[in-house]
Amino acid sequence: MELNQLTAHELLAKLRNGSITAQAVFDALYQRINKVDDKVNAYVRRGNLENTAQKSANQTELLGLPVTIKDNICTEGLNTECCSKILQGFRPPYDATVINNLKRSGAGIFGLKANMDEFAFGSSTENSYFGSTHNPWNLDCVPGGSSGGSAAAVAADEAIWALGSDTGGSIRQPASFCGVVGLKPTYGRVSRFGLIAFASSLDQIGPITKDVEDAAILTRIIAGFDPNDSTSVNQSVPDYTKSLTNDIKGLKIAIPKEYFVEGLDPEVKAVVGEAVNKLAGLGAVIKPVTLAHTEYAVPVYYIIATAEASSNLARFDGVQYGFRAKSDNLIEMYKKTRAEGFGDEAKRRIMLGTFALSHGYYDAYYLRALKVRTLIKQDFDKVFSEFDCIVAPTSPSAAFKIGERASDPLKMYLSDIYTISVNLAGIPAISIPCGFTKNKLPVGLQIMAGAFNEEVIFKVGHTFEQNTEWHKLKTTKI
């Protein structure tokens, strides 16, 4: 196998015993990118490939192994543009906290940023200023979104491992579409300082990796209290690799019945069903539960997330950074800059969010949505008082064709149904590969747990992996 096809933990073992160098890994990645990324488009601004790579200064834990970073995470001196025209050329004068954490652990920050839906608005990576990313399992299909670039890069072995961000499923859904592992940590587990905000009360940075062990290693490094983030929790970070015990006997797993209704693709349902049986076979106790307010999750999300986004994106106005439209006066500058700088989905969400907060509508929409959010959280609290975790499909379907849903935003929103509640409740969840459709498109299994209980997620995910081969399969399409 080529170096770029290995997992991070395999490469770390080789780096530790000196049989390879970090540079060799970089070179293998460059070779792969040169070969396939014209088709996949996982990376953006590929101009100067080697020059922008940032090799780590120290030789601690991660020994220089490169991590691929999504284009909405600030990297000092490296363009960070959220794949939007309005941030073109933006070079942050500071590193996100997760980047600091990575550097301190000896990681290399890969010099190319991963493609994404502009400002993380999307579930397909079709909303990128730099064009769609193509699913490595079927180039006519979307990789999912918004962290589609990160997921596709990992799936295509154009990255060893990557960071994405998840606000309503943006790590988990592309992970499931691309047959890789993606974790959204508990809200507050990982610092948001340096993550260009979409929805402040929902966003989290998380790992996208080839297997659960890599996810456990990477999560441990990026997690932790950050005094620069008021919403970061001061709780010690466990060594998640200690949860990889390959033993789930007696573990109580809940299956939410509202996730298995009409709208779920029968093939996905079948594959996930098999996976659940597998878990039962490994000794877990499976029981159905109800998450009664599931049907309200998407509307609640699209009120809260867009409201927060409309405010978070107000700063993109051409004054201090990014794109500025030609104009004679200030108001014209604001209006033209934002009209020309934002893509359609961004404008749609900003408008929706502005509307939800505006005078006369605040109570009926925003305030009410916050209350329903409480109800959704209570649904999960109730289940976790009895169960160790919840298992469900990550997405109602496998990857759809590029262009298929682009003209129907509402349909696109509804495909987030299984991932969104997790963000609303602030709990952690992972997607791991658990099979394929007849068309050889990956299907993801989602495992959710109570707040700060990533350990049980890693335990279940790893156990499933150790007893199946899905995560080892690679695409042959590129």
Binding site: C74, T80, L87, A199, Q320
Partner: protein, 477 residues
């Protein structure tokens, strides 16, 4: 038809913490533009705010000093609007759960206390500065993010003078707390006013006008005075008043309407998800209360009680914290039981010296014990009041002691009766006509004779004693 003026004031204060509200930038005035900034206060993408503990403490002190109820639960909200001095295009402020409510402050405009309600005191962050050029505007973000508190009064003020007194009283309290420089000229204190008129006796509020752009307490008073007159005239002519914002033009001495196409602004307030809720427990608040310094009103009452000062004198002495400290230290050195003579010197000649030198009493270069010594000379009638005032000025200018200056200027008054009597005999002898005039009933003659005594003594005779002695001498003979 008589109208009642109804005024409410909104005061913004910059807190004098070392760093900004939500980031660690040092607050440093007079620096080059955009040199006291960081990604957070510049609102760079990805940055997050963390509130300054000291700012919260200062704000709670202010809330307590104004008798407000500090809320148990408070939060920050985003106030969304677009302007180039606002990097995030929203200001972190407080909307429906402000830090404190329902306070009050007393003013003494008519020499009796009037209670002015304080609706709320809440936390905010400051915006940047704009410089307008011909085709462009320039933005400096140094000021962005400086912690502010906003103090909103109830519409309990009923005249421009009351508004002025409210502001001076407010400033005095803030000074005592030492949480802000509260200098309107430097911009650490800003004031907007709301004014409306209603027929006397009516309980319904009239159309409200907002006034902005006043740069001094006097400016606030003048602007309110102008508005009162402008609105009175309109109302008397049965004309409609527009609910609008008007800017004070200090040079022209009038307010001008700010024609805005916007209509009512929709700030789309919502709780800031980047900041946590704050639960402020009572013990913590009481701890701050117990450590509050003595406030002006308390000090005034104490001066009255401990030093038997009049309310009028005490009020003047406490209006400035540093000056009141100076005064109290003088009072402690001054051994006489009746402090009035000292107080008269403080609020009279000493205050005058400060004004002339464009400073304040506490900044004058004079030792307190020297001042007390000087007053002693006057009390013992060894120095005339007039001479003493001159010596005071010289003491400040040269730093020399009262004793030295009196010696150098040969100012020691002759109060010794024998010496005076000798001079008097000489004057009587030389001014027989005036003596006759006085005996004839012309009282002016006495003043003339006193003047002659002063002349003969080179100004050193104590005029009062001289006068008394002359009168007795001439009445006897």
């Amino acid at each position: 038809m008589k109208f009642q003026t109804v005024i409410g004031l909104e005061v913004h204060l910059q807190l004098n913490t070392k760093t900004k509200a939500f980031c660690g930038c040092a607050i440093d005035f007079g620096q080059a533009p955009n040199s006291c900034v960081c990604p957070v206060c510049l609102g760079f993408p990805g940055t997050l705010p963390v509130y300054n503990k000291e700012a919260l403490n200062s704000a709670i002190k202010v809330a307590l000093a104004f008798n407000c109820q500090v809320q148990e639960h408070t939060k920050f909200d985003r106030k969304n609007y677009f302007y180039p001095d606002l990097p995030k295009n929203y200001q972190i402020s407080q909307y429906d759960l402000p830090l404190s409510r329902n306070g009050h402050m007393y003013i003494y405009t008519e020499n009796k206390p009037k209670c002015i309600g304080i609706t709320r005191i809440h936390l905010e962050e400051d915006a940047g500065k704009l410089i307008h050029e011909e085709t462009n505007s320039l933005v400096d973000f140094n000021r962005t993010g400086i912690p502010l508190i906003e103090i909103v009064s109830e519409p309990d003020l009923n005249s421009p003078q009351e508004a002025f007194d409210y502001l001076t009283g407010l400033k005095s309290i803030i000074e005592y707390l030492d949480v802000s420089d509260c200098d309107m000229e430097k911009g650490s204190l800003r004031c907007d006013a709301n004014i409306s008129l209603r027929p006397e006796g009516s309980s319904k509020l009239g159309v409200k006008t907002e006034l902005k752009n006043m740069n001094s307490f006097k400016g606030v008073k003048d602007a309110l005075q102008f508005e009162t007159e402008r609105q009175t005239e309109l109302l008397l002519n049965n004309e409609q008043l527009a609910q609008e914002t008007r800017l004070w033009d200090a040079e022209a001495g009038r307010t001008v309407s700010m024609r805005s196409k916007e209509g009512a602004k929709d700030y789309r307030y919502f709780p800031d998800p980047d900041l946590t809720l704050f639960n402020i427990d009572k013990t913590f608040v009481e701890g701050i209360r117990s450590r509050l310094p003595e406030l002006p009103y308390e000090k005034m009452r104490r001066f009255i009680k401990d030093y038997s000062l009049s309310e009028y004198d005490a009020k003047i002495l406490v209006s400035s914290k540093k000056d009141s400290q100076f005064a109290e230290e003088c009072i402690k050195i001054y051994s006489e039981k009746d402090k009035k003579p000292l107080v008269n010197w403080l609020i009279g000649p000493l205050l005058q010296e400060a004004k002339v030198r464009k400073t304040v009493i506490s900044e004058l270069k004079i030792e307190k014990k020297e001042l007390v010594n000087l007053i002693g000379f006057v009390q013992r009638q060894e120095l005339s009041g007039l001479s003493a005032k001159t010596v005071l000025g010289q003491m400040i200018d040269t730093g020399k002691s009262a004793e030295l200056l009196i010696k150098e200027g040969n100012l020691l008054q002759v109060s010794n009766l024998d010496d005076l009597n000798k001079i008097i005999e000489t004057v009587i002898a030389l001014n027989a006509k005036s003596v006759d005039d006085f005996k004839a009933g012309k009282s002016n003659a006495l003043m003339f004779l006193v003047g002659q005594v002063m002349k003969k003594s080179s100004g050193k005779a104590n005029p009062k004693i001289a006068g008394d002695l002359l009168r007795r001498r001439l009445s006897n003979a």
